[in-house]
């Protein structure tokens, strides 16, 4: 009894997050069940079972990380970073390909994407860099941290995983922007990126270039990469205000949508539950992200502060870019919708970050 009370006390203010995450888990299982139907038949029992196991594992991992003192990551920052580099590098040699991209490692039947770990490593190492008062030099305060980020992003881009590479860069960039680094530097870099953009175009794989051009005009390739966006829009739009109802999404049920249980899971939800459903999902994400940023006010340790900032930004960017992608607001870059999409890697890393945040929260109640 006493123990339960203690936990309740420790979790004060965090109950909203737990409640929201549990709801998102439920929504995940329900919408995966629906998306794994074909012509009215449930065809993905194995995948669904696997995902339920992943969710359970993720919660266990969350509880573990909840008890690990976050200062440990400060000390291990470089080690974790190096480890993540080794893993994403290892993909080249022992990884295997899925859908034209080599980004998976296989461990005893379970595959995972090391680039997910890279996101966590970048948040930790950035938090460590930013927690020191910035030196008044461009090289030390700006170039040093961002060369770590750049190296990591470049290797990920080579896999090729454009989505994660951009995300890693964006998370680091946003964290830096809200730190005490001179803002001038960011403007320079922005200009530099704009100049370099045409050159980096050539570095992209042809399927990535295709995705970007069809994002600008999906009708260029209505049968190829434009297809997904067109179908996604039809599915979402046809859901109307209240949706077609559970298992009644025709676009979903008849194989119109590729990758609908992974990156395009939001489309399935929007088709079956309509605008109200979409609103509800966004509300849950908003509650989680709001609670994370609210915590910033109470934190007294710079490292914890930036760690929290990074975690919040991670959650936000994932949700914003993924949903924007299904709506045709962003190009299809291949990012999961956290907590909902099928897949273990991003689920685990999201829960690790959540665990880290909970540990910080318990230190700064």
């Amino acid at each position: 009894m006493f123990y339960l009370k203690k936990i309740t006390r420790e979790l004060s203010g965090l109950k909203t997050i737990i409640f929201s995450v549990i709801l998102l888990n439920l929504i995940s299982v329900i919408s995966l069940y629906s998306s794994l139907h074909q012509q009215g038949q449930f065809v993905g029992e194995a995948l669904l079972n696997k995902q339920i196991i992943w969710i359970i594992i993720a919660w266990l991992i969350f509880i573990i990380f909840n008890y690990i003192n976050y200062r440990l990551y400060y000390n291990l920052a470089f080690f974790i970073y190096a480890f993540s580099l080794i893993l994403i590098g290892a993909v080249y040699f022992i990884g295997y390909e899925a859908m034209g991209a080599q980004r998976w490692l296989s461990l005893g039947g379970f595959t995972f994407q090391p680039s997910e770990l890279a996101k966590i490593a970048i948040i930790i190492i950035m938090a460590r860099f930013l927690s020191h008062p910035p030196a008044n030099s461009f090289l030390k305060s700006f170039c040093l941290p961002f060369s770590f980020v750049g190296l990591s992003a470049l290797i990920i881009l080579k896999q090729p995983d454009l989505g994660t590479a951009i995300l890693v860069a964006l998370i680091a960039f946003t964290m830096g922007l809200f730190s005490k680094i001179n803002k001038k530097y960011f403007i320079w870099i922005l200009i530099l990126v704009l100049i370099a953009a045409p050159f980096s175009w050539n570095m992209l794989k042809s399927y990535q270039q295709k995705r970007l051009t069809t994002f600008i005009n999906p009708n260029i390739d209505p049968l190829g990469s434009g297809y997904t966006i067109i179908q996604s829009k039809i599915a979402i739009g046809s859901g109307q205000l209240f949706g077609k109802g559970f298992l009644a999404g025709t676009q979903n049920q008849f194989n119109f949508l590729p990758e609908r249980h992974t990156d395009f899971i939001f489309t399935v939800i929007a088709e079956e539950w309509g605008f109200l459903g979409s609103l509800f999902i966004l509300l849950l994400y908003w509650l989680i992200i709001k609670k994370i940023f609210d915590k910033l006010k109470k934190i007294r340790d710079p490292f914890a502060y930036y760690l929290t900032l990074g975690i919040g930004v991670y959650f936000f960017l994932h949700v914003f870019i993924n949903i924007g992608m299904t709506l045709g607001v962003f190009p299809v870059v291949g990012l999961p919708l956290i907590f909902i999409s099928y897949g273990g890697s991003h689920l685990i890393s999201t829960f690790i970050l959540l665990g880290i945040f909970f540990n910080i929260s318990r230190n700064y109640r």
Partner: protein, 579 residues
Amino acid sequence: MKFNIKKSFYDNKSLPKLLKRIVLVAFIILLVVLFNYQAINGSYYLKRAENNYVRAIPLYSLRGSIFDRNGTVLARDQASFNLAVFPYQIKNEKDILFKKLSEEAGISEKIIHKNYEENISGYFSPTNIIFDVSKETALILKEKYPKSLLVNSAPQRKYLKPLELAHILGYVKKASSLQSQFKKYGYKPLERIGIYGIEQYYDSYLQGQDGGDLVEVDVSGNVVGFLGRKKPVSGNDIFLTIDSKIQKFAKNSFAKKRGSLILLESGSGKIIALYSSPSFDPNLFIAGDNLTSLYKNKFSPLFNRAIQGAFPIGSLIKPLLATAGLEEDKIEPETTFNCKGRLNLGNNIFRCSGSHGIQNLEQALAHSCNVYFYNLGLRLGPENISHWLKAFGLDSKTFIDIPYEKKGFVPTPKWKKEKFGQSWYSGDTLNLSIGQGYLHTTPLAITIAINAIANNGYLVEPTLLKKIGEEETSYLFKKSINISQKNINIVKNGLRKTVSKNSGTARMLKNLSLGICGKTGTAQTSGKSHGWFVGFFPYKNPKYTVSVFLEKGGSSYQALRVVYNFLSNLKQNNLIEVK
């Protein structure tokens, strides 16, 4: 909203607020877009989703045609008619429909089911179930089953001179049969890829880009809306250096014999004819007929003897050896050896084809005297011989522009030691000196080597490509072997004498009056001998180099007969410049 960076960060209350506002604004943007799709335009999308089916109708691109040097079509795409169904529309009546179709089109039900399973790619994509029916059948069936069937015309590769050009052109295969293998390289299931010959080597030029229409259709299959089109892009046409008329004579001169015939422009290496016998019909691969008899044929018709097989060359080595002897100063043109029909080496006897008496270089070439070249070989020694054979390119590829070319092999004492643990004996040198033993080359490689004598010491890189699309390929690659002009002329004279002299081994070709120089060869094998002839003409300023190889053809005499028939046909039909 002001963010004061001078303040200590954790005292700053406005930063979290700013972050939250950004998130809020971003989410509101998403909600606005969602509201636009779902509430404002929801009924429009609902209509698109429920009442209409979206169909992707492929528009196939045409693969580039292949022409000969005069613009005669050798391979092109023709329309073939396929019948397709939309899996979603026939899901409840599939078995009944297939049964009926099988009766009416005269195709087994099994094949229809098999095609359906193989080609299905989505519930709303047309799936081909019957291939290559006549236009009439296609239209009759479409009229009977207007809702379920789609007539789908797809390009099909057609080879117009199949047997003559099979080894040069190769063929194409639907990537679907190789789907799993090629998926990672980005081939879509409907694409065709070149498998052999020019079709493979220049695949990326010949390959077009498929396009398609994305249309909306109502329940009866009528198109009610057009969503977008990707235009198909045709591949590039390719013009070859081959002359199909000459190629035809090349084929006809073989009848049932096995072997290869090559005719090329001496100076440029442009191949005018290249035929390997027996040949096959590449159209069989397009139709997907039963090919086991082709694969099981003991004479391997799929095998391009001109470039894929390495054989012993017999006396063809002699002009190369003569060049080596002159260049290494081991002999003078006037150096003579006395041929008594044999050469004794220890207990072994090495024979000659006749008892030629005293022979100088010219005579030895004209009579193909083994004894002369035994002696020359001993003077040169194995290292020198293999050095020169390699210089003539006998152990490397010619880099002709069709795939799967094989390299020849030139033995060396070092190789023999490593391979058999034995020293190189003088007997080995004698065998090598007359092109027997371990030496093997492809017919094309030895042709290019002897062509170097016609070509003042230059090895050309043979090519089949004249132009791609409208672009002429002025591609000429040649490599000098550094032989003095004087020595070339001496060897050339000897090669001329094989034809012009009444006792020359190739005197049969004399009355063609083409001014041919050349060398015959008979290479002993475990069974019947291989027959060879390689030559060039006209003597003064060689324009053409010709070679004939007869696998187990008996002797060089048979090869000479093929050459004679071939060249006299060309001459009669004015297909070659005689002057």
